[in-house]
């Protein structure tokens, strides 16, 4: 018998409205699923039973009056633990924030609550969202529901694993260089990074401010649309928040791709990409052609340098963003004889090796005498990447590539070699540098029965065309909300 935890958001919302399901039942099924899977997955850092139950009961009371508060009414949602939640511990996966209780909600969290969502808990991540496997979490790694000996990807690995396992119906992630899309690909779910500025960053614990963007992780493209429509919107508390119109994206889902021009990125379709991933992506492209899209190959020559530029810009910004964790006002404090000694000891004890590495890298890149050669140069490359995209979009409506060069890798297999871990993000980073939207849609399994994600990129504010293609990819791939073996027993398949 099937569990309500495996419904899509759209299905659950319909069942709730029809009275076929209560928010309390839905939450219980979700919490039961977490109980079943968390020992192996460790997708959550905090599960907030009490508040979640109270929110579900409140949702049921409103339903009993025949009303709903919004599109996420009664829907169990997980939030990546780098978004602050009033009264609920928020650590960003770092020991330096162990026990930290924020006094306010991130704007995206407020939006979820206003839309009626039931927040189940806070999900695991690479410390301060720095990583691609969740192995950099200060609280231990998460596992992939498709093979618990493998990583779920990262840094939003906990959110992706939770949605894949059914311990959350949808989740929020944050994406700085692929941190939503790559784990979504590795866990067989949909992950979307919106245009920079579309979702407020207020309350998102910053990693790299000019690249960070909050977005949805869901089981279907439609659910991603529903979630994005809830969290997108101008926020006066974020000076980089987009001030223009925020359209509805739902109508894109059924429009098909006939007449659309799809560009396959040459640089992301060969070397360094696993054969299974390549062939799966090729057959998706073929099906897009069958659905009426025009396919061409597009070269983005600056892709070659994008990764290097990213690994200067992001650490530079992070070196300043993480300076506030000094033991003075909140979080961990390791005492010392002087303020300087206290701060140094606190940071040495509180930050993990990858975060420390990036702070050092960023501090160095910004130092007098090195700024022009490193940070300045990286910003020029960023401009080139944007120009490459602009030029490419003169001839195509969307660009496509694999989301990740490989499927889920084994836990511990890349931790010793940071550079091999950095290469995991090669396909996703360019969209962050360009501030443009991008989505990963699960399309197939590889020989080891691990999910493969297909990435679609669109110009800034091109969410409508992005979702048009994503919906077609979802239909054509025949993925059909496939579930990982971990939950198949409960799922009743």
């Amino acid at each position: 018998m099937s569990s309500p935890a495996d419904l899509t958001l759209a299905e659950a919302a319909a069942a709730l409205r029809a009275g076929a399901l209560s928010a309390r039942e839905l939450l219980q099924a979700t919490l039961d699923r977490a109980l079943l899977t968390e020992a192996e997955l460790h997708a959550f850092l905090t599960i907030d039973h009490e508040r979640a139950r109270a929110a579900a009961d409140a949702a049921d009371e409103v339903l009993a009056r025949g009303e709903t508060t919004g599109p996420l009414h009664g829907i169990p949602v997980a939030v990546k633990d780098n978004m602050v939640t009033a009264g609920v511990e928020t650590t960003a996966g770092s020991q330096i924030l162990a026990g930290y209780i924020p006094p306010y909600d991130a704007t995206a969290v407020t939006a979820l609550k206003r839309a009626g969502a039931v927040i189940v808990g806070k999900t695991n991540l690479d410390e301060f969202a720095m990583g691609s496997s969740t192995e950099n979490s200060g609280y231990g790694p998460s596992a992939n529901p498709w093979d618990t000996g493998r990583v779920p990807g990262g840094s939003s690995g906990g959110s992706a694993a939770a949605v894949a396992a059914g311990s959350a119906m949808i989740a929020l992630g944050s994406d700085t260089g692929g941190s939503i899309r790559q784990p979504a690909a590795l866990c067989g779910v949909v992950g979307m990074k919106p245009t920079y500025g579309l979702v407020s960053r207020y309350g998102l614990i910053a990693f790299a401010s000019s690249l960070d963007q909050i977005g949805p992780i869901s089981r279907t493209v439609e659910d991603a649309v529903t979630t994005l429509e809830v969290i997108a919107g101008h926020d006066p508390l974020d000076a980089t928040s987009y001030r223009g119109e925020y359209p509805q994206y739902r109508s894109s889902l059924e429009r098909g791709v006939a007449g659309l021009r799809v560009g396959v990125v040459t640089e992301l379709a060969g070397e360094g990409i696993s054969p299974d991933v390549l062939s799966a992506c090729r057959s998706v492209v073929d099906s897009l052609a069958e659905a009426g899209a025009t396919i061409s190959e597009v070269s983005l020559p600056s892709m070659e340098y994008a990764l290097s530029a990213y690994y200067l810009i992001a650490p530079a910004e992070c070196s300043a963003n993480l300076a506030r964790f000094d033991g003075v006002r909140y979080g961990l404090r390791v005492e010392g004889a002087t303020v300087e000694e206290m701060t140094a000891r606190t940071r040495a004890a509180g930050f993990g090796p990858e975060v420390t590495r990036r702070i050092l890298l960023g501090t160095y890149a910004l130092s007098a005498g090195y700024y022009d050669a490193f940070y300045g140069q990286a910003q020029k490359v960023r401009t080139l990447v944007i120009q490459d995209f602009t030029k490419a979009y003169e001839g195509v409506d969307v660009l496509v590539s694999p989301t990740s060069p490989m499927t889920a890798f084994e836990l511990g297999s890349r931790t010793e070699d940071p550079l091999s871990m950095y290469l995991v993000d090669v396909c996703t980073i360019p969209s962050n540098l360009a501030g443009a939207p991008s989505i990963s849609v699960p399309v197939a399994l590889d020989v080891a029965s691990l999910p493969i994600g297909f990435q679609i990129m669109a110009p800034a504010l091109g969410e409508e065309v992005l979702f048009r293609v994503a919906a077609e990819v979802e239909r054509a791939s025949g993925w059909n909300d496939r579930r990982p073996p971990l939950v198949e027993a409960d799922h009743g398949v």
Binding site: V84, P102, G203, I205, D238, A239, T240
Partner: protein, 482 residues
């Protein structure tokens, strides 16, 4: 060898906006510690800055008042350094593209006017305040320190000069002119003693007449114009003595010790600082169109230089103008109020720069703390013009008004200072004096006009100064003619 000083000044001005630079917290002084705070100005995880548009407008006003160029597009940068009073451990400031640059301020000092070039005027945020407990209040020796973040994030404007000042007197005149300008604009209360206006000076010496710059020393912690002047005088003497003794001047920051009258070095703690400036990614560039700039220029109030020359055109001497201008806006304001009501500018200026200033100094109060108004001054001047008060009596009445005894008419009556100018009323007193001084009376009758002055004095004496000397004098003159 003879040396000359090269001085540059950095001025920090806290803007008197209602809210802070990057959050909605109140920006006022005097609240209980850590009550005017929020996630943004406490640097809590996830908080983001949003610029205060009023502060941007005000820095443009300051820039325009200092004849600066206003950048169409300027940028906030992060200035990175760790300090416990700085919640983010970086300060949002400006680096290579400040809002205002290349300005000029003309000052009067050492008997001549000097044009001081302004290098830049930029926008930043203030830090919190630290109080060190134990160890004589120094961070190094303290048992512990207390932090108050009420000041954190208050808009701060930094005005940086070129090294165009040559003497401590010029430096003081510059500082006073900046204060007068900021007060005229109404963008800051500019109180040195409360720290809402702070001056740091860079001083170096060079052999007189040479063009190169010597090693500069930064002098901090001067909280009055007088201490700015004293500190620079001391520092120039110190550097001169050092150079003459063949010693080296070190690049360092020295703190002025007001009570000891010396600057003290902190060289041991000084490290070459690399602030690793980079563009603040949480903020978009500040855009100021020509239209907006021109609109702000249109709204500028009268600046001190213009006001000074207007006062001079009223016939006031330079010394009076200087005193009127130096008391901030208050003295000039009350002066102008009385003149606008129709009083004689010179009389009012004499009172304001004389009795009023003396009273304020004697009682250590601000004009605003006294009941004196422009209307009072006007009323007083009318009483004099009508002959009801002598100029001596007017000064006494003024002191009475300042002391809270009431309006000039009330004080004049209560103190019995109304002048007797009625000839009939004065006849008795004059006859009395003539009877008491027969010899002098005879000389008067003999037509000796020189004796009139003496007799008037005697009448003034027995009327306790209330007789109108003009009236007395004309009555006596009549009697002389027989």
């Amino acid at each position: 060898m003879e040396y000359e000083a090269v001085i540059g000044i950095e001025t920090h001005v806290e803007l008197a906006t209602d809210s802070k630079m990057f959050c909605g917290c109140p920006a006022h002084f005097g609240a209980d510690p850590n009550t005017n705070v929020c996630p943004v100005c406490l640097g809590l995880p996830g908080a983001l800055p949003v610029p205060n548009e009023k502060a941007i407008e005000w820095i443009v006003m300051i820039g325009l008042a200092l004849e600066c160029e206003i950048a169409h597009r300027s940028q906030f940068h992060r200035k990175n350094y760790f300090y416990a009073d700085q919640p983010k451990n970086y300060q949002i400031s400006q680096f290579d593209v400040p809002v205002c640059s290349a300005g000029m301020l003309e000052i009067e000092a050492d008997g001549r006017s000097t044009r001081v070039r302004i290098n830049r005027v930029h926008m930043e945020e203030d830090t919190g305040k630290m109080i060190h407990i134990g160890g004589g209040g120094r961070i190094k020796d303290a048992d512990h320190s207390l932090l108050d973040f009420n000041r954190s994030g208050i808009p701060l404007v930094e005005i940086v000069t070129e090294p165009d000042l040559a003497t401590p007197q010029q430096a003081r005149a510059y500082a006073q002119e900046v204060q007068a300008t900021v007060l005229a604009l109404g963008v800051s209360d500019a109180k040195l003693e409360e720290g809402s206006m702070r001056f740091d000076a860079n001083v170096s010496l060079r052999p007189k007449g040479t063009g190169r710059l010597g090693t500069k020393v930064e002098v901090k912690n001067m909280n009055s114009f007088r201490s700015l002047e004293r500190a620079l005088t001391y520092e120039i003497e110190r550097q001169t003595a050092a150079l003459e003794a063949g010693e080296q001047i070190y690049l360092e920051t020295r703190h002025w010790d007001e009570s000891a009258g010396v600057t003290g070095g902190m060289r041991s703690k000084e490290e070459s600082s690399d602030y690793r400036y980079f563009p603040e990614p949480d903020l978009v560039p500040i855009e100021i169109t020509d239209t907006r700039r021109d609109a702000i220029r249109q709204g500028l109030p009268e600046l001190p230089a213009a006001r000074r020359s207007r006062f001079a055109s009223l016939g006031l001497d330079p010394a009076s103008v200087a005193v009127l201008m130096s008391g901030g806006l208050e003295l000039a304001g009350i002066f102008e109020g009385a003149c606008e009501a129709g009083a004689d500018p010179k009389t009012i200026a004499n009172w304001v720069t004389g009795e009023v200033t003396a009273f304020l100094r004697r009682e250590s109060v601000q004009l605003g703390e006294t009941p004196l108004t422009a209307e009072h001054l006007f009323e007083l001047e009318r009483l004099c013009a009508a002959g009801d008060l002598s100029s001596t009596a007017a000064k006494q009445v003024l002191v009475g008004v300042l002391a809270g005894e009431g309006s000039p008419a009330i004080v004049a009556r209560a103190r019995d200072l109304i002048q007797i100018s009625d000839a009939g009323a004065l006849a008795t007193q004059i006859d009395q004096v003539l009877a008491d001084h027969p010899e002098e009376y005879q000389r008067l009758r003999d037509g000796d006009a020189k004796i009139i002055g003496y007799l008037v004095g005697q009448v003034m004496q027995i009327t306790a100064g209330r007789a109108d000397p003009k009236v007395v004098s004309s009555i006596l003159a009549e009697k002389a003619r027989g």
